[in-house]
Amino acid sequence: MSDGTGTDEMSTSDHPTQQVATVEHDGDAAERFENPGLPEHRSRMADVDPKAARRAERQVAALFGLSVVGTIGTMVAYFAVKFEGISGSNAYLQRVQLSNILLGSGLFLALFCIGIGAVHWAKTLMPDEERIELRHPMRSSDEDRAAAVEILQEGAAESGLGRRPLLRNSLITALALVPLPAVALLRDTGPMPGRALETAPWKAGDKLVRDAGGGPIKAADVQIGTVIHVMPDGLQETGAKLEERAKAAVLVIRLNPDDLGDAAKAGAYDGIVAYSKICTHLGCPVALYEQQTHHLLCPCHQSTFDVTKNCEVVFGPAKRPLPQLAITVDDEGYLVAKNGFKEPIGPSYWERG
């Protein structure tokens, strides 16, 4: 419809400098093809055939009607599928799942049908002649720009910002300093690190107990090839502080004593070794043990540690070996820590050195 008018307006545009890019670039219009203009509008069925238009109308209405069905269905599902009075966890979960499917499907119907109904309406019954709107350059006219500059200068002069440097400088100083309290107020968001990262809750004589409610471990009971997840006595309950558990987690593995590297032997007891379970890369629990190769694999980034080589890194993004916890047995034959960890456990940090 606005095909013609658009063209007229365009030729009397206020911005004759802004030529069509393709033309401007080569300078000579004759060297370029001419824009052939919009293709003619093709009528749709509904534009020319009242029957088709009525059919489209009915289709749209049917879709909206279907949405109403979806809405009612959702309400029915909400109130009819009750969660009370069901015995058995499985039956309950099935009820939850049923509710989820019915509510989701009902909402889908209710929403989706409004959507395609509206789109169908627009595509079949609303005008589809392409219309033209003119663009104007973002840049303001030279007069407007000059006027704006003048206003800004006038205002600056009125405020005296230029003439009174004392005002300006003191304001800048004040504004620069005023955010400082906001920064300072964040100081109490946490304590200073201090030596917290260097310490792990193990000390000489601590009993090694099975994690998650297990008891102490008799050295004689540990089979070759087994892995035991261990905490110091007192931290094995689920109620223990997570910060402590996050540093204390240890793996106990028994190898054939001949497979142990020399470096590990001092802290080992009869082929039994204990290593920090916290990855030296980013702190995930390193707990996938391959019996054949004696490798420990971190599930997060696949750093691989060789237990026979004192848990040195043999592959992956970690750099440092897993720290060893030196162990021995007490009078009753239970595994205990010989000392605490000799180095900080877990990921590296600047002060670690």
Binding site: D3, H25, N35, L111, E133, D211, P317
Partner: protein, 557 residues
């Protein structure tokens, strides 16, 4: 009909009220009939916008039931495997809202699915904008706003993922803590201040919650508002085609066509996400259990949008960490997790200006590029996608290993090599393909289309009749600029005085050469004329379209 007049009278009264108070008519005049061009690729940004609205709605529902606390409690809900275990309030409330609140599970799954769709739509939308050159002047600011939104969406997604305080999310946070620790000099301080001490502590859930539901959504709203205002002020870009120029916008009015189409599309997106949430389970936290630093979790995978960063961290060999002057430099972590994303973001945000330097172009651009017509940019884009996908793949190297029964070491080593080899390769290949496609366009314009009609001349010669392209079909193939490399001005002026800014010029010149040295220029009328003469013998048929004569010419063309 009386009902019609009643409606009309009501509308008039509302209209009068709003106009006399806020001058609503001016707004209607300005906005209602605004023209927007039509193309499927313009819907990608809409998907992002609508997912955001869905996130606000479903997220609000979740806050009614979620308890942002790591205070310990005993789970005694309906899920038997967890019965009697000590869990955090955050975890317990997440399970409770999933199983005890009708529609709660659906809302959680809608929220999670919408978040995945949100980030995906933003990223695909960005690629659309990139490949079509929609970021060029005057839209650089909207490109920057969009980039910031993309970046924030990753953070927002990660924080939301962390809130249920389950085993997987806890491991994700442990990794985040480790990454912060790797920052030189201040790492452990920042970690302690953010988490309120050692990991995990008790402060992180309420803090993450406030940032996730208040701070970031407010920033999102402001930036999305600015994004849309700029869209209206600058008017939407359009694909080149007959009748489309740099000074017009061709399409349909906002009211009523786009209100119906875009409004309807919101319901379609919402409906589809509901359907996904009805049938596709996502993040079943009850199966993972509450966070505890000790248990194992194989196949630990973050949400997909964090995968590329996780992948980069996985690929980095450990020897990048070293100790110097009694201090640890964890570059095996800091490099892939902080410096790499920093560099990528900087290049992303700066790209409009980098390319403008190469073109030396200060004009406004409202007509989109066909990606083939800017081979170097298209090559760079595909290179970026390749790099991104390789990192994403690296983030799943363990999954690949277990599914295809391959060695994790081989996969990782191959990927370490491929991230350096494959992206440049795809750059070269893409660029060549683009140039080839441009050659094909020229071919079509110069020689017309095959008609399938074989003619035998009197002398017994056979040839196939070619028909000139319809001018409207041809226009799309020849409308673009032939961008040539910039010329380097002489280093000294005529008086032998060294010109200032020579270095900058040389950079621009090099860049321009890189972008535009290999090029295929569009056919000119003269070339077409010459091609016709060359084939004078087998007279080409004139364009068959009968409606070429009464075409409205486009002014300025």
């Amino acid at each position: 009909m009386s009902s019609t007049t009643t409606t009309a009278r009501a509308a008039a009264s509302v209209g009068n009220f709003t106009d006399e108070r806020v001058g609503a008519s001016k707004g209607v005049k300005f906005l209602a009939r605004k023209i927007f061009p039509d193309h499927w690729s313009f819907m990608l940004g809409e998907v992002a916008l609508y997912s955001f609205i869905i996130l606000l709605l479903s997220g609000t529902f979740l806050t009614f039931f979620y308890v942002p606390s790591v205070g310990e409690t005993t789970y005694n809900g309906v899920y038997a495997p967890l019965a009697g275990t000590r869990v955090s309030e955050a975890f317990a409330s997440t399970v409770r809202l999933s199983f005890d609140v009708r529609g709660g599970l659906l809302m959680r799954q809608i929220h999670h699915w919408a978040a995945l769709v949100f980030v995906a739509a933003i990223i695909v939308h960005m690629f659309r904008v990139f490949f079509t050159g929609a970021f060029r002047k005057p839209r650089e600011l909207n490109w920057v706003i969009g980039s910031v939104l993309a970046l924030l969406s990753l953070f927002e997604g990660f924080l939301g993922y962390s809130l249920p305080d389950d085993l997987l999310s806890g491991n994700g946070l442990r990794i985040a803590y480790g990454i912060i620790e790797s920052i030189p000099v201040v790492g452990s301080y920042i970690a302690f201040f953010l988490f309120g001490g050692e990991f995990p502590g008790t402060a992180f859930i309420p803090r993450i919650y406030t940032i996730h539901v208040l701070l970031l959504p407010a920033i999102f709203l402001a930036l999305i508002g600015a994004h849309l205002v700029l869209l209206v002020v600058q008017k939407h870009t359009q694909y080149p085609g007959p009748g489309r120029t740099n000074q017009n916008v061709v399409g349909y009015p906002l009211y009523p066509v786009y209100m119906a189409k875009a409004g309807g599309f919101f319901f379609i997106v919402f409906g589809v996400i509901c359907l996904m949430s009805a049938f596709l389970q996502i993040n079943p936290v009850w199966a993972f259990g509450s966070y505890d630093p000790s248990p194992v979790s194989a196949d630990a995978q973050p949400d997909w949008y964090m995968g590329f960063m996780d992948g980069a961290v996985r690929l980095m060999p450990g020897f990048f960490e070293f100790t110097l002057f009694d201090h640890t430099f964890s570059f095996n972590i800091f490099l892939p997790a902080a410096i790499l994303p920093g560099i990528l973001t900087t290049v992303l945000v700066a790209y409009p200006w980098i390319e403008a330097k190469a073109t030396g172009d200060r004009r406004e651009h409202h007509l989109l590029d066909r990606p083939r017509n800017v081979p170097t940019r298209t090559g760079i884009g595909v290179m970026a996608i390749t790099f991104y996908l390789l990192l994403l793949l690296s983030g799943g190297n363990d999954v690949i290993a277990t599914h295809f029964n391959l060695s994790i070491n081989d996969i990782t080593n191959s990927l370490r090599l491929l991230v350096f080899v494959l992206p440049p390769l795809t750059f070269v290949v893409t660029k060549r393909i683009c140039l080839g496609l441009q050659h094909k366009d020229r071919e079509r314009v110069l020689h017309g289309e095959e008609t399938g009609v074989i003619v035998r001349t009197e002398t017994g010669e056979f040839f196939e009749v070619h028909r000139d392209l319809d001018p409207r079909v041809r226009w799309t193939l020849v409308q673009h600029d032939a961008q040539r490399p910039l010329e380097l001005p002489p280093a000294e002026d005529e008086n032998g005085v060294r010109r200032p800014g020579r270095f900058g010029d040389r950079v621009a010149y090099r860049l321009s050469r890189f972008f535009f040295e290999d090029r295929v220029e569009p056919v000119t009328p003269a070339e077409l004329e010459a091609a016709h003469h060359e084939h004078a013998e087998p007279q080409a048929l004139p364009a068959s379209d009968d409606a070429t004569t009464d075409r409205t010419p486009i002014a300025g063309a």
